[in-house]
Structures are given as C-alpha cells and as structure tokens.
Symmetry: C2
Subunit: 220 residues, 2 copies
C-alpha cells in the first residue's frame, strides 16, 4: 500500500473476527516496530505476543475490572478540562466499553514493554525514570510503527494503556522481569469494522509559525 | 512511496542542506502527525514550526549548552546498564554532537507539545501527569507519524528530547502557554545524508510467544 493511504486510514479497531493471525504477519508487524528510533539507539523494547486462550482470558478479566474502576475515576475527575462534550466521545466510549468486555476475544494481544535495563542514564536503579519523556519517546514510536504496519497488512489494532492498574499481575502472568515496564497492550486481529479515513482537528487549529498564536500560512 | 519502503528506511538524519522547506510540505507532515491515536481521542497535540533564524539561533545556543551538560551527566551515570559498548554508539554520538553544535542550521525546528488542558483525568491541575504512559502515548505516536511522513517526502528529521533541560525558556521564546509540555524537538530539512535501510536487533531477540523466554517461532 502507498504510505499516505496507510497513514491516513489507520484508526482504532476494537472488534475482531475469530480467524487466526499467522506468525509470519505478526513477525512483520514486530519487525516494523523495531524500525523506530530510540534514545541513544538503545532499542529498549520487548514484545510478548499473547495467543494462548487461557492467558488472554486472565488478562481480559483484569482489563474489564480495570475499565469498570477507571470509569468511576473518570466520572469523578472529568468535570472540567475534558473532551467529554466532543462529538466523537460517546461513540468512542461505547466502543471502548465493548472492548473492555471482549478483550479476550481478540486473537492476539501484543504486550509492548520498555526495558529499563537498556535505558542507561534515563532510568534510575529503583525502577523510576529520570527522563520520562525521553524514555517513552523510545517505546511509543515503536508502538505506532506496529499499529501502522498492522493496518498496511489489513490487521486491526488499538493502543491501550489500561493495564497500568494491574501491571504487576500482568508481568507475573507473562514472566516479564522486574526491569521491564509494560508501556502498551495492543489487541490485534482481522477487523470486523473498516479502516478510516480518520477525522481530526485541522492543522490550522493545532499548529503555529514561529510563536504560538501566529497562524501557519497555507503556502509560501 | 510504498508503506514498508518508508518504514524500513526511516532513520535519524542530522545534517541538512540550506534549501528552504515549503509550507505545503510542512503542512502535509503535520497533518500526518494529527492522524495518530490519542487517549480518549483527545488529540492533545500542538506544534510550533520554527523557521525564524533568530529563534533558531536562540534555541540552538541553549541546545548546545544542554548537550555539553548532558555529556557530563551521561559519563557519570552510564558505567553499567548501557549501550555504550554497542557497535553503533560512537558513530551515533559523533553525529549527535555535530547536531548539537549545528542545530540552528536546520531550516526548520518542529516543536511538538502535549497540551495538558486536553488530557482530562490523565493530568493533574498542578502540571504533573497522573498517568504518564497514557499521556506520552498520546503524543509520541503523532511525532512518529511526523518522522515517517517527512521521510515519505524525502525530508530528514531526528527525534530529540534534550530541550527538557531548558523547557521553560523554550516555552517563553515560543509563547507557549503553561499547560503545554514540550515533548519533542524535531529538526527537519532536506538531508545531506541518505535514508536507511536501518539495522536493528532481530525480532527473535526482542519478542516472545505467550511468556517471556519462550521463542517466537518463524511460522505456524
């Protein structure tokens, strides 16, 4: 596929057909992830491809509980400064709620880890991050490559971070060492819904020339 | 360009020709950035396209000072747990040092901001992040889209985060409001060096099936 056709149509897809996903495709998607940049070229990523139904059920059960808890927290804190009134919000939240109750049905869960042992001065020995932005800048570009490559192959995904509330249990389930932080959990499969085009705020609203508040002209 | 041809050849390019970059191309690259996913569809990104030579000189001066300071810190903390012995390291660090002393020569600096005011429950009113991974997962995929789209157009970039040490001054220079955190600074221009293919650790080293330590087979 042409590059911009992939990029402009990649979107969150949260409902999957039960058809299996071949390892050959999974490896291509993971190889794409590894093409991303990372601070100091450390490549501090690890990926666990979860296909085992029992593991997916365990993760799905915890994810659903985290969703229910998260909804309570969100309702309590969101009153201001939020996107709850945006046009897309109710539809997106219904789809996300549906995913929370069916995560185990995704044929594959890709667990994306950030290996602190490869971060050098960006991580402290106690597991905290000295430079969080630089550290996450070394894993989320890889995750985005993964989402885009999946879309190029026709595979649906969505980037989730709700596992943070049960990260310790998740790491135990997957035998991940202490020095790996789970940055994202990406369900993946052949989608039941369609890719974009996506709708976003226009560039004119989110970009400025030289100083914030100065509009970016259309052309020179 | 074909999607995987872009993805597999995107790499950090840090030396630029002085030729100007047209606003039309810059807008296409920024539009690509906005196609990224974000938590709750909040699109919490802002971009400042810095072309003004005086501003670039100011930023470049601070960047060089931050680099010199960072080198001292890195040398003091890196002894273990690091990539300093990796084959790519010396070459990469020479290129990064060269960039640190010539940043102002990049015809464009794209300042990528994370707007806390759009993060709802992920951000606290005091400017801290309640859910850093989810927050950075809502900006670095956009930055990666930007790098990839630039490569698709033949434009060179590199993702940097060294501005963190002079972020307050940078925000003043660019008139960015308090609630915007600068997540990345991306120099951009027509490159003097070539795109990849990139070399990375093989998938077999960084991925596992179901549990860490279980090799991912080549095929089903």
């Amino acid at each position: 596929m042409e590059f911009f056709a992939v990029l402009d149509s990649q979107r969150a897809l949260r409902r999957f057909r039960s058809d299996p996903v071949e390892l050959r495709d999974l490896r291509r998607v993971l190889e794409a992830a590894t093409r991303a940049p990372s601070a100091r070229g450390a490549e501090p990523w690890v990926f666990v491809v979860v296909r085992d139904p029992a593991l997916r059920a365990e993760i799905g059960r915890r994810y659903r509980a985290a969703w229910d808890e998260g909804q309570r927290f969100t309702r309590a804190t969101d009153a201001d400064r939020d996107v709850r009134t945006a046009a897309h919000y109710d539809r997106m939240m219904r789809a996300a709620a549906e995913l929370a109750h069916s995560l185990h049905e995704a044929p594959v869960l890709i667990v994306c880890g950030l290996d602190h042992a490869r971060l050098g001065p960006l991580a402290a020995p106690d597991g905290s991050l000295r430079a969080p932005a630089a550290a996450y800048a070394s894993i989320f570009p890889a995750v985005q490559n993964l989402l885009l490559a999946a879309r190029a192959l026709g595979l649906g995904t969505t980037l989730t971070t709700l596992h943070r509330t049960f990260e310790a249990e998740l790491k135990t389930l997957l035998a991940l060492p202490d020095h790996v932080e789970v940055a994202a959990l990406v369900p993946l499969g052949w989608p039941r819904d369609r890719f974009g085009p996506t709708r976003r705020r226009p560039v004119g609203e989110v970009a400025a020339l030289d100083r914030w508040g100065t509009p970016l002209p259309e052309r020179d």
